[in-house]
Symmetry: C2
Subunit: 462 residues, 2 copies
């Protein structure tokens, strides 16, 4: 980075958007040097805390003028390094653009700034009897802008889809500072190219999103959670197509395999429900009334063949007990091995059992412990591999080999590298396994169409 250009940019930024929004104090900069991705950090040269679209536009224009990389940042909860300020650029934080501009009950839309925390939006919608369905695991701390950037999903995707299915309008800023509006409170739109379609999931490499129109749906008044134990992961997963084909569409179908259950049991040092089962399914069903849910539950009972009892929860305390095992997985993993990595591969639903079997078999030959769980309804498999007491040199050499094996297997079964986390930095070396040379070249040309000087989040994805 050219020092003189940087100094000029700082002066220019202070003058045009205000001294208090431009941060160069090393102590403050440190907080923006990482996201939730393990083992990666880089110090930014400048942080801008934008409070308006004008701030974003002016900041990007100045970055373009002085050729300074601009790294857009929401709440910094990404797990593939998307918000890491590579090349010591400028972090453009939209965290303070966190207004819910409108909940339009009549038309069932929300209009929000990108810094709004996902849960905050969900709560605001619920006050009007409405629901914003996408529910990434980090929903208490992640922001809507980041959800759009990464194409975030969550357990409810099986019934309700992912972030992209709810965005109907955007205001966004190009790297040259131009502000573009598209769509709005409309669910149908065939007017020119669908900018929304390419921007959602583009990981902050094409434009900075400054306003978002989101479709809401009426909140289901009744919700029930079920914990269903099985002898084996295969038996558990075989239930999924059966439910869906019989029009029981749960809002979530989470699975945990035996090793995951065992690990949590070790960690919690307490009895957990069905701690000796070979697999758990955690199913949530929502509907119009308790009666409807009871009917679904009856049908589900008839379809499912398990020797175990099914636990149903509809109070908050019951639900918490029921989800405790699932919610303790990540902590249990960290506790068992401070060094580990996780991937969120996706395969067609029917291929999940054989995919898991292949991964387990392979990792056994390497004597590595793996913890697998995920979203059975949509084939999104979270694979965590623990270093344990393996020698670090051996581990470091092995990791790329294992990743490649996992990704190649996912692709072999008709799937791909990531369902909801994005490529970012951590998977960019593997993108060519899923996207052909021509596809990557096309991606680079699309990048150049939005960002000819490669100012925005350079070095991510490809």
């Amino acid at each position: 980075m050219n020092k003189t250009a940087l100094n000029k940019a700082v002066l220019s930024l202070r003058k045009s958007i205000g001294r208090d929004k431009v941060i160069t104090d090393p102590y403050m900069l440190d907080q923006f040097s990482r996201d939730e991705t393990s083992d990666i950090s880089e110090f930014p040269a400048i942080v801008v805390r934008a409070t308006s679209v004008t701030d974003v536009s002016k900041t990007l224009a100045i970055c373009s003028k002085y050729n300074i990389p601009a790294i857009p940042r929401g709440a910094g909860t990404g797990v593939t390094g998307g918000a890491i300020p590579v090349k010591h650029g400028l972090v453009l934080s939209v965290e303070q653009m966190n207004n819910i501009i409108e909940i339009d009950k009549e038309n069932m839309f929300a209009v929000v700034e990108p810094g709004v925390i996902t849960k905050t939006l969900q709560d605001a919608a619920l006050e009007h009897g409405l629901m914003y369905p996408p529910d990434p695991a980090s929903l208490d701390s992640c922001s809507i802008g980041g959800n759009l950037a990464e194409g975030a999903g969550g357990p409810r995707a099986v019934k309700y889809g992912t972030t992209k299915d709810y965005v109907t309008g955007l205001e966004f800023v190009l790297p040259n500072g131009a502000v573009i509006n598209t769509g709005g409170k409309i669910v149908k739109n065939a007017t020119g190219y669908n900018f929304i379609g390419i921007l959602v999931g583009s990981e902050g490499t094409l434009a900075v999103i400054t306003k978002i129109y989101l479709k809401l749906i009426p909140a289901p008044p009744a919700v029930i959670d079920l914990l269903i134990p099985f002898d084996s992961i295969d038996k558990a997963l075989n239930i999924v197509p059966l439910l869906l084909q019989n029009r029981i569409i749960p809002s979530t179908i989470e699975f945990m395999e035996e090793d995951a259950i065992k690990l949590v049991k070790e960690f919690l040092k307490e009895e957990i429900p069905f701690g000796n089962a070979g697999a758990h399914l955690l199913i949530q069903i929502d509907g119009d009334s308790e009666d409807d849910l009871m009917k679904d539950l009856d049908r589900l009972n008839n379809l499912i063949n398990t020797k175990y009892e099914i636990i149903a929860a509809n109070t908050k305390i019951q639900k918490e007990r029921l989800w405790k095992t699932r919610r303790s997985i990540r902590e249990s993993i960290k506790n068992a091995s401070s060094i580990f990595f996780g991937e969120d591969t996706v395969v067609p639903r029917s291929k999940v059992p054989v995919f898991i079997k292949d991964i387990k078999t392979y990792l056994n030959t390497e004597s590595l412990r793996s913890i697998i769980y995920g979203h059975a309804g949509d084939g999104n498999v979270h694979i965590n591999i623990l270093k344990g007491d393996m020698n670090i040199e051996k581990w470091n050499k092995l990791v790329p080999k294992i990743k490649k094996y996992i990704f190649k297997k996912a692709i072999f079964y008709g799937g791909t590298l990531t369902g909801e986390h994005g490529i970012g930095l951590t998977k960019k070396n593997y993108l060519n396994l899923a996207v052909s040379k021509e596809g990557i070249e096309l991606s680079k040309r699309i990048k150049a169409a939005f960002d000819p000087n490669s100012i925005l989040n350079p070095g991510k994805i490809f």
Copy 2:
């Protein structure tokens, strides 16, 4: 068009993809000179009837080499001129690529070629108990490839969304002949740029789609249709948010205003149900069982305040009678005035009544008859304006003025030019009302990223 280049291209095409697939006979070419758009046609120089992705790839490579415009064409049912071979180029027909490659019942996906007729796919899915929801009015004759190109919708969009919500994978060919695959039988995907997002709705200007992965859903076993008459269009439309907020999500909510009902009555020369009402709503509700529907019907009856009786239909004959008025609109319009035009503007749901009122008031001052109907659930308003006995010179002068008025009003209310028909040729002069200069420039750069020599469907959209 350079005559020598054309001749060379024809020779090259015949040699590389086969003589029988390359058509230059004027009688045959004539059929490809138009689509369902009134008053526009242009003769192509060549037609290629591709039967495989290889044909498409080779044809595009030859077009690129000889700088010949290639105009992709499905079933030719578009209504905005998207398939018209401007610049006397080569029509690349994928009509014969009409194989349903697979209906995967377990994973609930269809894999199809672009020439498959939408209804054919729906029937094939239904044989497996599955549904492909998007239902453009022309579903008996339009093709899936065209549906993707135009971002087609249909009445069921209110509950089930539009074409874009079902595409999970594509094989497509760039103008240089490169074949790219993306996605597959997976509903979650955050692996690199979402090519699907930008290709759906790009009106054949970016790439030629040769294989499509579509998400299917379990078909609802019970369906009921309702005709609900009201005194006025306002009263009819006010029901819509009430239903949705009370979690009655019909699969369709169609509306017809008084002038539309009157016109059909004149045309059919017979009594039609509630022919004197001020407005009709046609509601379709689907669900798990007749019992469920009856419960919805009870709730709906309690919410709706109309002095008229509600007609319910659940047999085929009853349904046909009930939909007859709605299905006769287009024919009635053509019968009343051979010269007319139609737009499919979209506004936020709550703005439909005031939008219609404004349009009617404006057209009254011009003494023009207008027939308005559409999809009340998603704010998609079909406005048809009849020349009647107006002097043709006056009409021709007036049409652009009226279109501009309609589009500006739609935008004023937070809507846009087209919900499901696309821009094509007929709306391209108005695109700048909805998309800013910067947005159009960005679109042109995206176009260049896919198609640097502007070979594919040039002159459409912008």
